[in-house]
């Protein structure tokens, strides 16, 4: 083939390709979408969405109100408390998981402010005093022993100063005391630090070490304790007042309990499934609640015999409770339910958390603050902090 003929053939090919490109660019219509990416059309393909015939333009009000149920921070939370500062401002203090940094959230504005930048490595569990000036933090540990630090907040320097360190089995900060337990001579020994004087006092001793303790308001008590729950082992409830151990008439397999002002909410395995009951300490009467609450998640309401309990209305009771929940093999999409022992004897929904927030929240660390008129809790799944204003 001649060279000139080859060049002419090449130019013609290029011209044809340019002509095709120009046609496609300016004149071609897309008849069929054959790409691997499709436009989202919500079902049938429609080029123009049909409009309603009688379109009435509504002036929708702009909702400036905050939703009653809301997430307070995006940071994972190791512990929190509701604090009223010296100026009477309501704030939520929280310790960030992982760093141990202390923050406050203004209840009205939602503004988040860092109060301490002191890093507590792998901070895992924290309690904050009611005045916000003292913080107890335990770091992550691979064993049952927790490395506990008691710290004072230095507001001027935005830092926490360590005043006490200890290795403990469990701890809790309540009112003016830091309560904690250690295993000694096979049993459990409970001590308390006075937050003002930092003096250490013996609170009680238990003849077994695997115990869950519900702490009282003072060193004297009463405190309550039971062997840690398991579906296959028996548990018993004990009251400890001034160091003296008294057995209460509640027991069972998978036993866990929460003591209120005059009643006790407890759950045990009954007929191969967990079941919750209310025990009246005065009349000694036991009532079946018809639910299988986890008392560890519940909250007794002050001055009533009622309890607020997170509960997943869609869950099926398992005879292996509470072990499955402790293992993290079972998670809940909780609602908050209130038991009503004084009138109806039934439980009613306070808030459907999934419907309100669109999030499946496995509620833990539930608390209620009368100054805030609000419930606070964290989610077990991501340790996020939530608030529900119940008088909204």
């Amino acid at each position: 083939m001649k060279k000139s003929l080859f060049i002419i053939f090449g130019i013609l090919t290029v011209l044809i390709l340019v002509a095709v490109w120009i046609y496609l660019l300016f004149f071609a219509k897309t008849e069929e979408n054959i790409d691997m990416f499709n436009n989202l059309t919500n079902g049938e393909t429609a080029e123009v969405a049909p409009l309603p015939n009688n379109l009435i333009e509504e002036t929708l009000p702009i909702n400036l109100k905050r939703p009653p149920l809301r997430q307070l921070t995006t940071r994972p939370v190791a512990g929190f408390n509701e604090v009223i500062d010296a100026n009477g401002v309501l704030e939520i203090y929280f310790v960030e998981m992982g760093t141990g940094h202390l923050y406050s959230i203004n209840r009205e504005s939602g503004e988040e402010r860092r109060l301490s930048g002191t890093t507590i490595v792998q901070a895992r569990e924290a309690y904050i005093s009611n005045d916000g000036n003292t913080v107890a933090i335990a770091s992550y540990s691979n064993t049952k022993l927790k490395n506990l630090s008691l710290l004072r907040l230095d507001r001027e320097n935005n830092s926490l100063t360590e005043v006490i360190t200890d290795t403990v089995q469990d701890f809790y900060l309540k009112k003016n005391h830091l309560f904690f337990t250690v295993v000694e001579a096979g049993g459990l020994q409970a001590y308390a630090y006075d937050l003002d004087t930092l003096t250490k006092q013996t609170v009680f001793s238990l003849p077994f070490s695997e115990a869950r303790v519900q702490w009282g308001d003072s060193v004297v008590g009463p405190h309550y304790a039971y062997p840690k729950a398991s579906y296959a082992l028996q548990g018993f409830l004990y009251k400890i007042e001034s160091g003296k151990l008294t057995r209460l008439p509640l027991e069972g397999f998978g036993f866990s309990a929460l003591v209120g002002s005059s009643t006790i909410l407890f759950t045990k395995i009954t007929d191969q499934a967990p079941m919750s009951y209310i025990y009246d300490q005065k009349t000694k009467e036991i009532k079946d609640l018809g639910f299988d609450f986890l008392p560890e998640k519940c909250l007794p309401l002050v001055s009533t015999t009622n309890y607020i309990c997170p509960f997943d209305l869609t869950s099926t009771p398992s005879y292996k409770m509470p072990d499955l929940w402790y293992q993290g093999n079972l998670s809940f999409a909780d609602s908050l339910l209130q038991t009503d022992q004084e009138t109806t004897g039934e439980a009613e929904i306070v808030v459907d958390i999934l419907a309100e927030s669109g999030r499946e929240i496995d509620v833990q660390k539930l608390s209620y603050d009368t100054a805030f008129n609000a419930f606070f809790f964290t989610s077990k799944n991501d340790n996020s902090l939530w608030m529900y204003e119940n008088n909204y």
């Binding site: 840690k228 398991s230 296959a232 018993f236 057995r247 008439p249 072990d323």
Partner: protein, 322 residues
């Protein structure tokens, strides 16, 4: 001479049962009756029954009058079995039965019931992770500590004698003074029976309780661990690797602590290939996304076992999508 001794021994041997029989007929044939309580040791705030056992009486019982703490309960008249409330812990209830016999004779039987609590707290010495809020469960060949707590009586532990039994085998061969806690090794089987009998120093039985304790197989669950937060206590059997790497912790629940601390076999395999376990914590493995490869799936297998106690072990697998 020898023959005399043989005859004497022969006579002694064969006369012995005759003398024993004579003693029995004197003492054993005495007409007796008693009140039988069921359950033998009523729990506080519970119910129990009291029944008349008068079968060995020679005559016939013609009437029964019941007295509870000295008061006659007329509605119980002539009943052979009555039902009663046990009341407060440590509070005595005296049950009396006045039996009317043939020939205008009568006999009074009495029994005092003191409801006590005997709690046996089971503390298995098996592995559960730090975040686990419950009690571990016993597994075969693991250790379990049993602690007895008696409620309702003010007496020193050292003034009591404890007889512990595991599946009818008495621990340490006999009663143990002041030993309200013992350590046992879990026997073979899905469960075992522990029974405890507590007596005073005088030998008087205070309370007795049997308890069935389950024995489970160790189980492994996987959790993700991060440098900042430690273990996230939500288990999974499939993980989507979103970053470049992930650290996985295998938690063998209910494994004996001895086996957990010094396992004779501990093995991670990735897609069937044995992976070297890290030296600082062999229960953790860090998985990295393969360089230059696209998407894929890996099967991770974890196996821990005591090769001298083969039932002390567990194996589980996990899928990683990357």
């Amino acid at each position: 001479m020898m023959t005399k001794y043989i005859v004497l021994i022969f006579c002694l041997i064969f006369s012995a049962p005759l003398s024993v029989k004579a003693q029995l007929s004197e003492g054993g044939m005495m007409p007796t009756a008693s009140i039988v309580i069921e359950p033998t040791y009523p729990a506080p705030h519970g119910t129990f029954t009291a029944s008349i056992d008068d079968y060995s009486l020679q005559g016939q019982t013609t009437s029964v009058t019941w007295k509870i703490n000295g008061s006659i309960i007329a509605s119980n008249n002539n009943l052979r079995t009555i039902s009663l409330e046990s009341g407060e812990v440590g509070k005595n209830t005296t049950v009396e039965a006045i039996l009317g016999l043939n020939g205008n004779q009568s006999m009074t039987l009495s029994k005092t019931i003191t409801p006590l609590y005997l709690d046996i707290v089971v503390e298995p010495q098996t592995r559960t992770p730090a975040f686990y809020l419950g009690r571990g469960l016993p597994s075969i060949d693991s250790q379990v500590i049993l602690r007895a707590i008696i409620g309702g009586i003010n007496i020193s532990t050292n003034d009591l004698v404890y007889t512990w039994q595991v599946n009818d085998k008495v621990i340490e061969g006999g009663p143990l003074r002041g030993r309200n806690n013992v350590a046992i090794t879990v026997p073979r089987g899905n469960s075992f029976i522990v029974s405890l009998r507590v007596t005073r120093l005088s030998g008087e039985e205070l309370i007795k309780k049997p308890l069935r304790i389950p024995s489970v197989e160790p189980e492994i669950y996987f959790y993700e661990k991060t440098a900042l937060y430690g273990i996230n206590p939500i288990s999974f059997d499939s993980l989507n690797l979103t970053g470049n790497s992930a650290t996985i912790t295998a938690e063998p629940y209910y494994l004996a602590l001895g086996t957990y601390n010094q396992p004779t076999l501990l093995e991670w395999t990735v897609d069937g290939k044995k992976s070297s376990a890290p030296t600082d914590n062999p229960y953790e493995i860090t998985l990295a996304r393969p360089a230059g490869e696209g998407r894929g799936t890996s099967q991770i297998n974890f196996h821990v076992r005591n090769l001298t106690q083969l039932l002390q072990g567990a194996e589980s697998r996990l899928r990683i999508n990357f």
